[in-house]
């Protein structure tokens, strides 16, 4: 987003606060719209929604510029929006249209915009971890002062790539922030069942890097912890594991019955603990944004999402020739 960051979230500028709220709302409304359209059968393929986890992607990306890279997951829409991907291009991609960010060839699980430092949503769990340290290596070798952020799930922390990547980032002091979105589940398995560790951030100790666990529903907490981690990375002080405790509001994928979820926990996550409601309270309490500001942004975002849907529906499908283009750069 921008380079101006404040150590304390309550001291953030009005511009930053507005940007953050806009992005959080964009993610929420985008995902809710995709959920509804998918239910009507108008979106093909597999879709994994990010709603509920907005504070993580936005709180982290608030500290990044287009030159910084992020790697993402199958649940990538939120990361894309927070990193500045175009909403029309994203929605059109999910609709499989020629105007999509990947010309309709990738779909929901592969949205990317390298020009924004968004190295792609990813269909392979754990794949983003080594990819992120590669971007960190580029920054280090080229001495650019850029950083790389790896968003990954609690489920992915059980994959070997997590340990390979964190260890290498540590020994080479790479400017990488490993942001674990611990939403308590990997598909239909709980974090408690699948992981022996209590906290993903505990691995930081073993690998001798910085590590912290924060309330991932609290934008301010994520924003502050990420700000420090990014600063350390830019200063050559090496990687961080930032674990954000969060929750996904929808199922693992669209169509999931979610029988494994606890009803009370689900209810709390979408009411008292809702990341957007909590951020609204925060900005009002600290008099950064007013109720009118919030409503104004809500309306702007609503219009933008409606426009993205209209744009997508009216866009053409890719032409026949696209099946075999882009396999190689040169033939």
């Amino acid at each position: 987003m921008q380079t101006e960051t404040q150590a304390s979230a309550k001291d953030m500028t009005v511009d930053t606060a507005r940007w953050i709220y806009t992005k959080m709302q964009e993610i929420r409304q985008f995902e809710t719209a995709v959920h509804d359209i998918f239910a009507k059968g108008e979106i093909p393929g597999f879709v994994h929604l990010y709603a509920g986890e907005e504070a993580v992607a936005v709180g982290v990306c608030a500290h990044l510029t287009d030159n910084d890279s992020i790697t993402s997951t199958h649940r990538g829409h939120g990361h894309c929006i927070a990193k500045g991907c175009d909403l029309n291009g994203m929605m059109a991609e999910i609709f499989g249209r020629a105007t999509g960010l990947c010309k309709g060839k990738g779909g929901s699980m592969h949205i990317a915009d390298v020009s924004k430092g968004m190295l792609g949503a990813n269909g392979i769990v754990g794949a983003g971890l080594p990819l992120a340290i590669g971007a960190g290596l580029t920054a280090k070798v080229k001495k650019t002062n850029d950083v790389a952020v790896c968003f990954f799930g609690d489920g992915a922390s059980n994959h070997g790539t997590f340990h390979e990547a964190v260890n290498m980032a540590a020994i080479w002091k790479l400017p990488v922030i490993f942001v674990c979105e611990n939403n308590g589940f990997g598909e239909a398995s709980t974090f408690d069942y699948a992981a022996a560790a209590d906290r993903i951030s505990d691995f930081a100790k073993v690998y001798k890097i910085s590590g912290e666990t924060v309330d991932g529903k609290d934008l301010a907490a994520v924003y502050e912890a990420a700000g420090k981690a990014v600063e350390r990375a830019r200063n050559g002080e090496g990687p961080t594991i930032l674990e954000c405790l969060t929750y996904r509001d929808f199922g693992h994928f669209e169509g999931d019955t979610q029988s494994y979820k606890d009803k009370d926990m689900q209810q709390k996550a979408v009411t008292d603990d809702d990341a957007i409601l909590r951020y609204q309270q925060f900005v009002k309490e600290h008099k950064i944004l007013s109720e009118e500001d919030i409503r104004e942004i809500d309306d702007q975002v609503k219009a933008a999402i409606e426009e993205a849907i209209r744009f997508s529906e009216e866009s053409p499908f890719p032409g026949e020739g696209e099946v075999t283009t882009d396999v190689y750069v040169s033939y």
């Binding site: 597999f46 499989g96 249209r97 990947c102 060839k105 699980m109 070997g160 709980t190 408690d192 099946v323």
Partner: protein, 344 residues
């Protein structure tokens, strides 16, 4: 006695029969039950696999034998390999075959090679079940058909069932085979209904099925492409050409004789395969027939395959990407050089 059931239910049925028959059979993989240690589920499964194929199995056999794993393919696949070598008969589920990147070593260098490297003194009775196939708009990393990758490797057996009856018999054969076997489940076939034998039966590997007899052309279809071949054969029949359609059922071992004998009769061969064309099952079969039945061929062998490109997401592109009866007819018209026919 035959019963009607889906491809998906045939898999479920085969696994249950095997687990009832032999206590050393276990089912292991990501969310093969789902919901492990979730209090309110009281040890009921949550998913039974991502497409619900193994639903209900944990309720019958318990979590000691139906094991949900962390997302750690190299970990649990390696465990399944050595569990097989030390006395179990694991059915290990690799959710999508595209995830083989995370555990290829365990399959290619461990499971496939133990028996040979150890001078025939170890065996790995492991069955890997995995999902393949395009047609669901699941994009480049969830739609591949990678059976050729495994066919390439000595020591692995490769099974590509095209219908519920074959699925059940071949899967049971895989489970009780003493070699590592990988069984491909085409995701678009899960809902396909068909007659399935009741109770326990096996179908031996290396025995192709002639799904339609004919004298003018041989069409070999791999996996679900047998059905595309059958549709093309129907259309060809209307034009006066009788195609023989062959479902090899297993790619390793491959029933070369059935294919070659058919080509000797028809003089023409088309292979239909939705996988990438290079170094593929289609290319392999073409080479074998070129080698062993060249003198009987009246026309060049044609392959109707995916192009040399990843699977595209956008529905119209994916449709263009796949083999179709029209593409088979177009290939045939080139083979017979028939101008009238090429109007189709």
């Amino acid at each position: 006695m035959a019963v009607k059931m889906s491809y998906s239910d045939a898999i479920n049925d085969a696994i249950r029969l095997a687990m009832r028959k032999d206590e050393s059979v276990i089912l292991i993989g990501e969310d093969v039950a789902g919901g492990a240690e979730v209090d309110h589920l009281q040890d009921q499964g949550a998913w039974g696999g991502v497409f619900g194929v193994t639903k209900g199995i944990v309720e019958e056999f318990g979590r000691d034998r139906v094991i949900d794993t962390p997302i750690a393919e190299s970990g649990y696949m390696g465990a399944a390999v050595s569990a097989a070598a030390t006395g179990l008969r694991p059915i290990s589920e690799l959710m999508f075959n595209d995830f083989i990147g995370s555990c290829l070593d365990e399959v290619m260098n461990q499971a496939a090679k133990f028996h040979y490297m150890f001078g025939g003194k170890a065996k790995v009775p492991l069955t890997i079940r995995t999902i393949d196939g395009a047609g669901f708009n699941a994009a480049a990393q969830h739609s591949q058909s990678l059976y050729a990758l495994f066919t390439h490797i000595p020591g692995l057996k490769v099974v590509v069932p095209s219908n519920p009856y074959d699925m059940k018999g071949l899967l049971l054969n895989a489970i009780f085979d003493d070699d590592p076997v990988i069984v491909f489940e085409d995701k678009t076939l899960y809902g396909m209904k068909g007659e399935v034998g009741e109770g326990f039966y096996t179908i031996p590997f290396g025995k192709a099925e002639i799904t339609r007899a004919g004298k003018d052309l041989t069409i070999v279809g791999i996996g679900k492409q047998v059905h595309t071949a059958m549709k093309a054969a129907d259309q060809l029949a209307k034009k006066g050409f009788e195609a023989e359609v062959i479902d090899p059922r297993t790619l390793s071992p491959l029933d070369e004789d059935t294919i070659i004998n058919s080509v000797k009769k028809t003089g023409r061969l088309i292979i239909v395969d939705e996988a990438y064309p290079r170094c593929s099952a289609a290319t392999d079969i073409a080479a074998i027939v070129g080698d062993k039945a060249f003198d009987y061929l009246d026309a060049p062998i044609k392959r109707v395959t995916a192009p040399h490109a990843p699977v595209p997401f956008s529905p119209p592109l994916e449709k263009l990407y796949m083999p179709s009866p029209e593409k088979i007819l177009a290939a045939f018209s080139v083979m017979v050089g028939d101008k009238v026919f090429s109007a189709v």
